[in-house]
């Protein structure tokens, strides 16, 4: 009887989350599955079932192909960039004798900045007639089309997002540094270990739990990039920055193809799930090699 009561209480306490999950996750997910086999445009009173046509069309679409490859290109550029920068920030802050919290807050602030605002600032900063470009052209003879080539546009977006997330990941890595037992370093110093060996052989393996978290989070970010791309490049040039979210937005809200956009969104979620699963397995293998189970 007591167990039954406890179960009831458990369900009661879990009910807000369960309701939330049902209304904002499960029902929309089911609706999205249903929409993906229709040609609905959000307005028409009649639904036409099109079977798997939307999925077939999506798999042949240049926009979807671009979204697939652009995401991995972003990952290759963005993940090492943000991990390296947040590691540097975390190392610097960790080494500070005082005011660590204050500095961490400072680095964390860009995370709170609006993507729209920062994109506008970058756009102005890099415009053809900005002081930076006027200087580069006049003094160094460099005429850079920052947002005009797929590679430079992708690099630029990656830098902006890395700037935004560096402070946040540095916060996680700093807590990782704090949890490493200082006695290990002392023992290593007695054994004559140099700074380089100390970092690669002790710090990095012991930082694994924090690194694992930041790596998975940053990989997740690459599948959800939208604001910066929407503001700066619109997915161009030549689909060079066309992310999954950008493609879904274009199809749903510009072309008004809600059914097709749902199919693209489902393909994107499958790709995201599989990619993160594989990467997670590799990271766990690396962890196991260093004694983390």
């Amino acid at each position: 009887m007591r167990t039954k009561n406890n179960n009831g209480m458990g369900w009661l306490f879990a009910s807000p989350y369960l309701l939330y999950g049902l209304i904002f996750f499960l029902i929309p997910l089911g609706w999205s599955f249903y929409l993906s086999i229709t040609d609905w445009n959000l307005i028409a009173p009649v639904f036409h079932h099109v079977g798997l046509d939307n999925f077939i069309k999506a798999l042949k679409s240049p926009g979807v192909h671009a979204a697939f490859f652009v995401t991995f290109k972003f990952m290759i550029v963005f993940v090492p960039m943000v991990i390296a920068s947040s590691l540097i920030v975390a190392l610097v802050v960790h080494g500070l004798p005082r005011f660590k919290g204050l500095f961490l807050i400072g680095f964390f602030l860009p995370y709170l900045a609006s993507g729209v605002v920062s994109s506008f600032i970058v756009k102005g900063f890099l415009s053809y007639n900005s002081p930076v470009n006027t200087f580069l052209r006049g003094q160094l003879g460099l005429d850079i089309n920052w947002l005009g080539t797929p590679l430079s546009a992708l690099l630029l977006v990656a830098v902006i997002i890395a700037w935004k997330f560096t402070g946040y990941y540095a916060l996680i890595l700093t807590s990782g540094f704090e949890s490493i037992n200082q006695e290990i370093y002392e023992a290593a110093a007695i054994d004559g270990v140099n700074g380089w060996q100390r970092f690669w052989r002790i710090t990095l393996p012991l930082l694994y739990p924090a690194l694992f978290t930041t790596l998975i989070l940053s990989i997740g970010v690459t599948f959800g990039i939208f604001t910066e791309v929407y503001q700066l490049t619109g997915g161009g040039p030549n689909f060079g920055t066309n992310t999954w979210q950008m493609e879904i937005y274009k199809q749903a809200f510009q072309n008004l193809s809600a059914g097709y956009a749902s199919a693209v969104a489902l393909i994107a979620s499958v790709v995201t799930f599989i990619s993160i699963f594989i990467i997670r397995k590799f990271l766990e293998m690396w962890g196991k090699r260093n004694g983390w189970t």
């Binding site: 307005i43 028409a44 007639n129 900005s130």
Partner: protein, 441 residues
Amino acid sequence: MKMKKAASLLLGASVLAGSLAGCSTGNPAGEDSTSKNGTTTIEFWAAPNPPQQAYWKETAKAFEKDHPKIKIKVSPIKESPTSEASIQSAIAGKEAPTMSENINRGFAAQLAESKAIEPLNKMKGYDDILKSRSMTDTIKGWKFADGNQYVLPIYSNAMLFGWRLDILKKLGYNEPPKTYSEVLDVTKKLKAKYPDKYLWAKPDLADPTAWKRWFDFFMLYDAASGGNKFIEGNKLVADDKAGVDVLNFMDNIRKEKGILTKQSKDPFETGLGIFTDIGPWTLQYWAEKFPEMKYNKTFAFSTPPVPDGTDTKNVSTFADTKGLVIYSSAPENEKKAAMEFIKWVYSKPENDVKWMEKTNLPPARDDLATNDAFKEIYEKNPALKPYAEAIPNAVPSIDNAKYNELQTYIGQYAVNPVVKGEVQPKKGWEKMKEAIEGDLK
């Protein structure tokens, strides 16, 4: 115990239902909204910018004085993320208003295809509106492929090209060039005298976003083709010669290093570029931000340049125009009341005068350049006169429900690669046609 469980579930469900019901804002679709005292309330979504909001609120109040049995609730269209998306969501959620403005012809085609808006020409009083507002000619270009009229145009921005007259004068010209070869001559002289300046400095030329083609390709295409339709119903009927001429024109300017597609800030205002599309809304912006921009001193207007040998009078151009629609989901009494309101607004030219004074947007009237009621506005702001004169030759956007995809192809396969020198104009035109025809099948 079971009772308790059932009671908690019921309570939870009621709270949830109550909070969800709180999200609702209007009458469910189709339900008669006439109150007990016989008053019909209609919901009118106006464009979210302050001048248009103010105009419609004032006009609605004046109408209500004359028509005590009709109440008009004016509210701004939410732009989350776009006004079109908000309207879509409202229709999907059965929360569409009775009527709204700010609807372009392409979006109207999407709405019409889904039977979400009413064919206004089939509603009582429609012909009276056209006559009393003097818009019989202007409305012709608005006829949809199925022969109906779904949108009543409020304003028509006959798009013009702006020229930096001060710089043109330094190059030895007293007025803007009119033909392609004249424009090329200007480009050559400009680059010779000012190598750092460009004829056309506009990042949008390299951007495939659909609406951006209205302000480059369609202006030039309408001029080159004499206003020939681009798509009719589900058929591409574009004038091939005019299309290739436009792309060749762009390519020739590029070859003279006259095009800059890199991001630049206020290129026309700073004189980095000397030629660009200008809508009448820009005049108000310049008055506030760039007071040094003076009509017929620093800048002048011209209709789009045309291929050599083409008549340079009565040149067609693109009409950036939006209008009113009535939603099919509204109850009949609201539709009638909405029509009554529209009839009242457009039976008096002074309402259009007030509109133009508040918004600077030229009302879609045939007599805008000749009607004395507007004389004072042109005296105060002579830069608006060329826009009024161009209205009869202005061609609205295509009325295909897939306009967004189709216009994206124009950028993606033709305009963008041509201005970047990546494709020959004729080849680009063919690729664009192939993509459009493939999608229209």
